[in-house]
């Protein structure tokens, strides 16, 4: 089976929300993204840049206003039957395991829920036990009757993951899976995701705002800014030699970052309903501010860099400066 066959692919995906007053929030504004089986892709970006919306759209929880989502090469249809079938294959892991578990359901119920929804009746306890142990809760029977509040945060997240694994999906979409967990526990969960990938070829799309996390486990990373992916490529390349000014700023403010001087960007992410024209990053761009981008400034103000493709290998950047020949000299890699 080839990569293309089994990949989750998004092409030109757009999601818009109508706001009161006729304004429109373009939460996802043209995204091409692929997740191949057995691949961990990290999606990083500031709060409000549209990561969650993208994930929800990929799962069919939100309807795209433009573009397509396809799985195994089959475009996603929104009939409830098609969605249900689709959701056996692609599973979601949420940020806050405490919230993701119904406080009134036992661990067993929580994990078996997927089976019940999909009417998989045979050997329910066996499947639940298997999923729990795959998620690292052993011995599983010990946890069957526990309620979420009786578990630690890490255990809860494992239960959530077990609930996803029980349906034997091909892909996990995890929205900030460790953000609400303690620093000391995070590693364990990440190790679990990594192990699932290595042992079972389970691909994942991991949404995070922690670049360190991406460094720890992701094969590829996509950096998102205001509904658009501005840079994507293999983790090593993107994080150690960021080419988009935004990525560089993100990396620079990390302690012990490979980029020498921290670049603290001015202000905050603009509203998704007020995406600046031209390059959407231009108003905050340090290269524009410092005058480095002067040669391509007319492009920056007038021209929206095109949507990045989704090829698996190359390192892609949506920056006019990066593209111009002048740029190469100035950007230290």
């Amino acid at each position: 089976m080839s990569v293309e066959e089994r990949a989750l692919t998004a092409r030109g995906l757009r999601v818009e929300f109508g706001l009161p007053g006729g304004r429109v929030a373009r939460a996802v504004d043209g995204v091409d993204l692929d997740v191949a089986p057995g691949e961990i892709v990290a999606l990083a970006g500031e709060s409000g840049c549209g990561k969650t919306t993208l994930a929800r759209t990929l799962l069919g929880l939100e309807r795209a206003t433009g573009g397509t989502v396809a799985f195994d090469g089959v475009p996603l249809r929104y009939s409830s039957r098609a969605l249900k079938a689709y959701r056996r294959r692609v599973q979601l892991v949420l940020q806050d395991p405490t919230g993701a578990l119904n406080p009134r359901h036992t661990v067993y119920d929580a994990v078996a829920e997927g089976l019940r929804i999909h009417g998989i009746g045979d050997d329910e306890p066996g499947r639940v036990a298997a999923a729990l142990s795959r998620a690292g809760l052993r011995p599983p029977e010990q946890f069957f009757l526990a309620y979420p509040h009786e578990l630690s945060g890490g255990q809860r997240q494992r239960v959530v993951i077990a609930g996803a694994l029980v349906l034997e999906p091909s892909l996990l979409i995890a929205d900030e899976p460790v953000a609400s967990l303690d620093a000391s526990v995070r590693g364990e969960i990440l190790a679990l995701l990594l192990r699932l990938k290595e042992e079972q070829g389970l691909g994942s799309l991991i949404i995070t705002h922690d670049l360190g996390l991406a460094w720890s486990i992701a094969d590829r990373i996509a950096i998102m800014y205001l509904g658009r992916i501005v840079e994507q490529g293999p983790v090593e390349q993107v994080l150690t030699a960021p080419r988009h000014p935004y990525t560089r700023a993100l990396v620079s403010v990390l302690p012990d970052s490979p980029v020498a001087e921290p670049i603290v960007l001015a202000g905050e992410l603009p509203d998704a309903s007020k995406i600046p024209g031209g390059c959407r990053f231009r108003p905050r761009c340090q290269e524009v501010a410092s005058g480095n981008a002067a040669p391509v400034l007319h492009q920056c103000t007038g021209e929206d860099p095109e949507v990045l493709g989704a090829e698996a290998k190359p390192h892609l950047v949506a920056c006019h400066l990066d593209r111009s020949s002048h740029a190469d000299a100035r950007i230290e890699v």
């Binding site: 009161p20 007053g21 603290v264 001015a266 202000g267 905050e268 992410l269 603009p270 600046p276 108003p283």
Partner: protein
């Protein structure tokens, strides 16, 4: 680190001039208010229309020929019946009666009472002060008392004061108003003879202002006492739980950390915040001032709108019922609308979206 702190405010480098920005903000917020107002006003208008319609049709379902009610136990000739029917406009087609009713209500012409043979508008204007006096005094007392005790009770949850107040409040709250009224009459008016049994004034009182005021005040004590006693506990509980909702909040810790005294923390921070969710309630209470004391008025024969309503029910005096139903309902609807509008100004969080 050499770069100066960035202006955290504007995301855009070519920020519009401050004045323009301010105007833009202004405009946005004013249209925001406009939309908010429109939404709630139109909601209230729909509710009012529903009330208007339903009151016309509901009371038309009352069985029996109104003429029977008008001629209680007197033999009447068919001609007399017809005359009365014509006089009351009952011989007109239903749609026409409906039209008259709608246009009449909108122009404050509420028709004529079957029972009193007087314009209902006059009746209401005559009765309203009595109701406002009783119900308004009672409601204001109840709200103040309830909020005051509720605040202290909640602030010191679990204290002896709290337990005692909650228990007292609950017991009084559990008493049926009419029963409490009868007991109060029995004890204070019949046995002790301290207060008049009923009504709003004694006809023998001299007509000068002070005598009248004292007399009315004297009549007012028992009904207000009864009314307040039953109602205040509701406000106590609400304020108490509202305070309890706030009590663990971080902003109170901040206030305390700033060095404020305990009572300053309560008065300046906890109470204003705790009051916010009760605004609707207070307005609902204000709205129901015109109908809130039906039972109390009946027990004490207080010449207000409540007794008018109960009398009209037993008569049954359909035009009066219609008008009062509209009045009672619309007053709460309008009160809730006012609360919603007020929220815009007092709760900045509303303006967020």
């Amino acid at each position: 680190m050499t770069d100066p702190l960035p202006p955290a405010d504007g995301a855009s480098t070519e920020a519009p001039s401050a004045g323009r920005a301010a105007r833009a903000v202004e405009r946005r917020s004013s249209t925001g208010f406009g939309r908010y107002l429109l939404k709630h006003v139109s909601g209230a208008a729909v509710s009012l229309l529903l009330v208007l319609f339903s009151s016309f049709f509901i009371f038309r379902l009352i069985a029996g020929d109104p003429i029977d009610q008008l001629t209680k136990e007197r033999p009447v000739s068919p001609e007399q019946r017809a005359a009365m029917r014509a006089e009351l406009g009952l011989d007109r087609p239903l749609w026409q009666q409906f039209w008259d009713y709608i246009t009449g209500t909108l122009t404050m012409d509420l028709g004529e009472s079957f029972q009193y043979r007087r314009p209902i508008f006059d009746l209401i204007v005559e009765r309203l002060p009595a109701t406002l006096l009783l119900s308004g005094t009672g409601m204001v007392l109840a709200v103040l008392l309830g909020f005051w005790i509720g605040t202290r009770s909640g602030w010191k949850q679990g204290s002896r004061f709290d337990k005692g107040q909650v228990a007292t409040g609950l017991v009084l709250y559990s008493a049926p108003t009419f029963w409490l009224g009868m007991i109060v009459i029995l004890v204070f008016a019949r046995y002790l003879g301290l207060f008049p049994v009923n009504g709003m004034r004694s006809p023998s009182t001299p007509p000068d202002f002070w005598s009248q005021a004292v007399d009315i005040g004297h009549h007012l004590v028992l009904p207000v006492l009864t009314y307040t006693a039953v109602v205040y506990a509701g406000y106590l509980m609400i304020m108490r739980s509202s305070i309890l909702d706030e009590i663990g909040s971080d902003y109170l810790t901040t206030a305390r950390a700033k060095g404020l005294r305990d009572d300053e923390v309560r008065q300046k921070h906890a109470v204003p915040n705790a009051l916010l969710p009760t605004v609707t309630l207070v307005f609902l209470a204000l709205g129901s001032v015109v109908n809130g004391s039906i039972v109390t008025e009946t027990v004490f024969s207080w010449p207000g709108l409540g007794t008018l309503f109960v009398n009209a029910i037993f008569y049954p005096d359909r035009p009066v019922l219609q008008a009062l139903f509209v009045l009672f309902s619309s007053s709460t609807i309008v009160a809730v609308l006012c609360a919603e509008i007020l929220y815009w100004f007092i709760d900045p969080r509303i303006r967020r979206s």
